[in-house]
């Protein structure tokens, strides 16, 4: 009972901070806009020229990838916020409070995941630019996928932040994790044309399955069929994508809680 209260208040505080920090909401738009409208249009127009016009719509393709990018990068902010809490000392207030460390870690992961999901949802304002028309069911699925995906990533952020304790070091390590996770996924390009070795790396990247699930939710399984991840000769259905993400989340969550409980 007390642990539920603990989880709630940790979650609530992160949301409160997010709400107060409205500047962050504005900057959220800038990168996705650049990627979708500028980068997407640029690549799409050059591809048109090259392939003599196929039915492959690049902007439509990267739109779910960009939502994935927003969720991925915002989720990692949970790790940053934990490191900040340590640096500014607020973490001590939390750690001596009568809440278990497990509850603190869970509250933090849930708070970060909620924020990442909200940020991902905001990306829906780009639908008019993205040449997509997701169904209501698709959007609800997307929200669920984003949350599960974000939760696994915030857990990873907490795991990293439990080991890497200074802002400077975290600022070095986080991009080293994030960019490979992002680029070695089907976020920015279809992966079925990749050379074999690169294709294998993509299949080992858990982020790939989150992105693929989001793409299937936004585009529908039909439209996204040609870009899917194939495992053992099968096209991954969205439900199996989600299973992979959940399993990744469970591993990260367990490790994060364990790391967070370690005392000096």
């Amino acid at each position: 009972m007390n642990n539920l209260r603990g989880i709630y208040i940790i979650w609530y505080r992160d949301l409160l901070r997010f709400w107060r920090d409205k500047a962050r909401l504005v900057t959220t738009f800038v990168m996705p806009f650049l990627f979708l409208v500028v980068f997407g249009t640029g690549i799409a127009s050059s591809m048109m020229r090259g392939s003599g016009g196929s039915d492959f719509d690049y902007i439509q393709f990267i739109y779910p990838g960009i939502i994935g990018m927003v969720v991925l990068f915002t989720s990692m902010m949970t790790g940053v916020s934990l490191v900040w809490d340590r640096e500014f000392g607020f973490l001590k207030e939390v750690l001596v409070a009568p809440i278990s460390r497990t509850a603190v870690a869970i509250g933090k992961a849930l708070g970060g995941a909620t924020i990442a999901t909200i940020q991902g949802l905001i990306m829906l304002v780009f639908i008019p630019f993205a040449h997509v028309s997701p169904s209501i069911g698709g959007i609800i699925t997307l929200i669920a996928v984003m949350f599960v995906f974000a939760l696994s990533l915030t857990s990873m952020g907490i795991l990293i932040a439990s080991r890497i304790k200074t802002i400077e070091a975290f600022g070095m390590v986080a991009p080293l994790m994030l960019f490979p996770l992002f680029f070695l996924s089907p976020a920015m390009f279809p992966t079925q044309y990749l050379p074999a070795w690169l294709g294998i790396v993509v299949k080992f990247n858990p982020v790939s399955y989150g992105i693929d699930a989001m793409r299937q939710a936004v585009l529908g399984s039909q439209q996204s069929a040609m870009f899917g991840i194939h495992l053992f000769g099968f096209r991954m259905p969205i439900i199996l994508d989600v299973v992979v993400v959940v399993m990744f989340g469970i591993i990260m969550g367990t490790l994060a809680i364990r790391a967070f409980r370690i005392q000096e």
Binding site: R17, E93, P98
Partner: protein, 331 residues
């Protein structure tokens, strides 16, 4: 009286550094217990262990009857803390910081509301309660942290250098409130400080140096270790004065280049005798009670607050000699 904190052979090492070196002590319920020692003595580390932030290397400690290693949740329920270093969420307002605390410590809504107002008025931040803490000055932040530590009426309140950076008037004001609250709610206070005047509010004081407790007693008993009052005089001929004092009263006075000084029981009764037939051209004379600084110096030969220069450096050497003479009472 029950012992609310019990510490036995506590050791904390950071690599080769022994920050807390086999200390044992007990704190009685309702007492104000002071930890006095210079920077780096191991005060904060001891608190960190008692409040479950760190694990000891060896030894054991209980708080309110609960083991600080095996029963951490119960221990955390029993304590409140004002940390030495900042620990506020500066992105939130004062009110939000306190509400967070009240919720975490399970204070019912209506009670929390009343207490938050009372305590914010006490630390004179009520008018600024809706400001983000990052716009607060250092002193305001400190006051807010003290307010937060008191909010849930903990069984044991740890104050780690609580009034660092506060002006004397605010300090007194806050102490008044804390002492009143302590009586009303029977709170035990564990205080660390390197301000001797702050330590004197304590019922008992442990003097800690290099991770070891070198003395533990009431402030008065500690001061009596110094062996009397300290008499200081300015004279025309200091060397002659020292000799004269020695020949007449068999007292070893010291000269630090500016003043002659010595310690004696009942200094104010001795002064008239001394002044009446003093030969070496007396210019001024003063007597003062020993302070905890003098005690620390007597025990360690060093000052608690590392100031440089001035007569205090000379006092150091003087105190060192005194300790070498007769330190039988000291551990």
């Amino acid at each position: 009286m029950t012992k609310i904190i019990e510490v036995e052979h506590l050791v904390k090492k950071f690599g080769d550094l022994v920050a807390v070196d086999d200390i044992s002590f007990a704190v009685e319920e309702g007492e104000i217990f002071g930890f006095l020692g210079p920077n780096g003595a191991g005060k904060t580390t001891t608190i960190n262990i008692l409040c479950t932030l760190m694990k000891p290397t060896s030894g054991r400690a209980t708080l309110n009857g609960f083991d600080v290693i095996r029963q951490q949740n119960q221990v955390r329920h029993s304590l409140g803390l004002v940390f030495q270093d900042p620990s506020l969420d500066i992105r939130l307002t004062a009110l939000q910081n306190l509400k967070f605390h009240a919720f975490v410590y399970n204070i019912p809504g209506a009670v929390a509301k009343r207490r938050i107002e009372e305590i914010l008025r006490m630390v004179e931040l009520w008018d600024r309660r809706k400001d983000e803490v990052r716009n607060y000055s250092g002193g305001m932040r400190r006051r807010l942290e003290i307010a937060r530590g008191l909010l849930h009426y903990p069984k044991v309140l740890f104050l780690d250098e609580p009034t660092l950076g506060l002006d004397p008037q605010t300090r007194n004001h806050i102490w008044e409130y804390m002492l009143e609250l302590r009586k009303r709610e029977n709170i035990t206070v564990f205080l660390t400080t390197h301000y001797m005047d702050e330590a004197t509010v304590a019922d008992r004081i442990a003097i800690i140096d290099y991770g070891k407790i070198i003395a533990l007693d009431t402030p008065d008993a500690l001061k009596s270790m110094v062996g009397g009052d300290i008499v200081t005089l300015k004279t025309e001929n200091a060397e002659a004065a020292v000799v004269e004092i020695h020949d007449k009263y068999n007292i070893e006075a010291q000269y630090d280049g500016a003043e002659v000084f010595f310690e004696i029981q009942k200094g104010e009764e001795f002064i008239p005798t001394l002044v009446n037939n003093f030969k070496s051209g007396l210019q001024s004379i003063s007597v003062r009670r020993p302070t905890l600084d003098d005690v620390f110096m007597k025990l360690t030969g060093r000052e608690i607050r590392e100031e440089t220069g001035g007569p205090t450096v000379m006092m150091k050497q003087w105190a060192m000699r005194q300790t070498r003479g007769g330190g039988g009472r000291f551990r």
